[in-house]
């Protein structure tokens, strides 16, 4: 296990570098970010010059990357152009909290709903239950998230006035006691979390169902029954344990979808998260901000995949001992 762990962690390093390289190359097509910065009256030319040096932009191109990469690793992410020269790291750290909060919420919701339904569908194949939920999962997989967000907003926000139509907090709530603030935030979070998890629910349900189906036809279940085990034990102990393996890999793959989806959901619901920040950065050609955002999102993804791989090794002994 330890060797597997070390191997996987080591594999991450070239990935980190590679991603940074690609990001750097793509964004360097934009042109001279520093010219833009100089134009902005709120940014002091001295800061720009310092940044230029720290990022190695006064050096030839092949050295630039390394200096820039080092700067990023040490937290020197530059100044944001469109946000009035505020340090990028400040903007990102504010935004990332929101994104993580409701991404994780969406993840948990999707997980809690989709997996049991998927398993149950597999065990009750071809029943009404199965058909209904298969239909539901197709529906979920084909639904454009932003549109779904609109629809829910229209119904719950505009027509029924049950839930707010955007934002993350009712104005004035910042000073309220913790519990009330939590309740207030919950109101704002319901719709975005549901919307974000919807697509995931659809595909996870399907995937769980099919991996459970595969497991259900395996020989070792027949052996378990031949030993005299009650059906319940056969399913819960022997079958489920094996079905868990592909499910865990699935969850690892779900991360990119969540991050991409977050971008849209944040826009629809006006949540000040990383997705919206990235968008704003792109729309304003804010090179430093965009680089940081893209990098952080990618690194989150890589780490998430690592966690998934580790979980996978925990669950499947064939990976550990081979």
């Amino acid at each position: 296990m330890r060797t597997y762990l070390t191997r996987r962690v080591l594999q991450m390093i070239p990935l980190f570098i590679g991603v940074a390289l690609v990001t750097f190359l793509i964004l360097s097509l934009v042109g001279d970010p520093f010219a833009q910065m100089l134009v902005n009256p709120r940014i002091r030319p001295a800061d720009v010059a310092r940044l230029k040096h720290q990022w190695g932009f006064d050096l030839p191109i092949y050295l630039r990357f390394f200096k820039w990469f080092w700067s990023m690793l040490t937290g020197n992410w530059g100044l944001s152009i469109f946000a009035g020269g505020r340090p990028v790291i400040e903007l990102v750290s504010h935004a990332i909290g929101w994104t993580l909060k409701f991404s994780i919420g969406a993840f948990i919701l999707g997980f809690v709903v989709a997996i049991p339904i998927g398993i149950y569908s597999a065990l009750r194949q071809y029943t009404i239950f199965d058909y209904i939920f298969t239909g539901f999962s197709f529906f979920g997989m084909s639904m454009p998230t932003f549109w779904f967000g609109f629809i829910l907003l229209m119904i719950f926000g505009l027509r029924l006035h049950w839930l707010p139509i955007g934002g993350v907090m009712t104005p004035g709530m910042e000073s309220a006691p913790f519990f009330l603030r939590l309740l207030d935030q919950a109101k704002y979070f319901i719709l975005p979390v549901v919307v974000l998890s919807f697509f995931g629910m659809g595909s996870w349900m399907r995937y769980t169902r099919s991996s459970m189906l595969e497991v259900v036809h395996q020989d070792y279940l027949r052996t378990a029954r031949a030993k005299g085990l009650p059906e319940r034990t056969v399913i819960v102990k022997h079958a489920l344990r094996n079905a868990l393996i592909p499910i865990i890999t699935l969850l690892g793959l779900a991360l990119p979808g969540l991050i991409s989806g977050a971008m849209i959901t944040e826009t629809v619901f006006a949540i000040p998260g990383m997705g919206r920040l990235t968008l704003n950065a792109m729309m304003n050609n804010d090179f430093p901000l965009a680089m940081a955002c893209l990098l952080i999102l990618s690194y989150l993804l890589i780490i998430g995949n690592l966690v998934a791989d580790l979980l996978y090794a925990v669950v499947d002994p064939r990976i550990r001992y081979s």
């Binding site: 070239p14 990935l15 590679g18 991603v19 690609v22 990001t23 793509i26 964004l27 097509l29 934009v30 197709f138 529906f139 997989m141 084909s142 639904m143 454009p144 998230t145 932003f146 549109w147 609109f150 629809i151 907003l153 229209m154 505009l158 990119p256 991050i259 991409s260 989806g261 971008m263 849209i264 826009t267 629809v268 997705g275 990235t278 968008l279 792109m282 729309m283 050609n285 965009a290 955002c293 893209l294 999102l297 990618s298 993804l301 890589i302 995949n305």
Partner: protein
């Protein structure tokens, strides 16, 4: 002792080809057939329909009377904030969205197959490089990447969007193909072909590829649906197809502001996307079942 035996059992002497069997299995899948019909109707409507409506894409009616009209016989889907007929725009938008969907999948597939086949077959450095590269690209979340590419690459045409989506998409296909080729390479088909002296190229294209086709076809069908959603998302965010050219995504972009008073602006393009993508998903799923290799052992 061993007299001539009269073999009375019924034996089917007809050699059933692979595609024939696939077709047969597919027909059993009612939903898939329904999807094919549905999609044909949609495509027909979008391609031919606009020629039959009374309006053009940009025709703005009278600023006071025609703006934001509720759907009626005059305007099947109502009008938008500029007085344009939504039905026509949705049909035209369909043209664009479908075009983007199909062509991005097609180009991604073309590149993906070539790269994947050679990487899978030859292995070695080519393979390692390819795999590292796809690993890296997979580590960057899709939509942010698309958004970035869109703003970084100059130009504003529909084809730019096709290019971007294909750029991201070929890697998934390459991976699948490479995987298949890796296993096929060790199979008996390959050995047999080599034994009769076939060149490597010939082996790849004529022998191995047809066997790898099934997952490609499934992936492509599902991919069209997926790419339509990506295009819509991009356009909605403002990084896709630019107005005034309509696409299902950018119609929704404007719809957000008029949501409260003109819900049909939200429903119509959205439903169009939903129905089309569901149809592609059903079809892809049906194809996957019909081409399940376990049925052809």
């Amino acid at each position: 002792m061993a007299e001539e035996l009269i073999y009375k059992n019924e034996v089917s002497t007809r050699v059933e080809g692979y595609w024939y069997l696939v077709g047969k299995h597919l027909k059993k899948h009612k939903l898939a057939i329904f999807s094919i019909v549905l999609l044909s109707v949609i495509i027909l409507l979008c391609v031919v329909g606009p020629y039959f409506t009374r309006y053009t894409m940009n025709e703005m009616g009278n600023a006071t009377t025609d703006v934001l009209q509720v759907p009626s016989l005059k305007h099947l889907f109502g009008t938008d904030e500029l007085g344009r007929d939504v039905f026509t725009r949705v049909l035209l938008g369909g043209r664009i969205s479908l075009l983007v969907g199909f062509s991005s999948v097609f180009s991604a597939l073309l590149v993906g197959i070539i790269v994947g086949a050679y990487a899978g077959y030859y292995g070695g450095i080519l393979d390692t490089v390819l795999m590292r590269f796809t690993d890296i690209m997979f580590s960057i979340p899709v939509l942010p990447l698309l958004v970035v590419l869109s703003s970084v690459i100059p130009g504003a045409g529909v084809w730019k969007i096709v290019l971007i989506i294909a750029l991201f998409g070929w890697m998934t296909d390459a991976r699948i193909i490479r995987g298949m080729f890796l296993s096929l390479r060790e199979s008996e088909y390959s050995e047999a072909a080599k034994a009769i002296g076939a060149s490597n190229t010939r082996i790849i294209w004529r022998h191995l590829l047809p066997n790898a086709l099934a997952p490609i076809i499934v992936s492509a069908t599902l991919g069209v649906g997926g790419n339509i959603i990506y295009e819509a998302a991009l356009s909605y965010l403002g990084f896709g197809v630019m107005p005034p050219t309509p696409s299902w995504g950018n119609i929704l972009q404007n719809a957000q502001y008029a949501m409260a008073i003109a819900p049909w602006l939200v429903w119509t393009p959205g439903l169009a996307i939903l129905i089309t993508v569901i149809a592609f998903n059903f079809l892809g799923d049906g194809l996957r079942d019909a081409m399940d290799p376990r049925l052809y052992r």
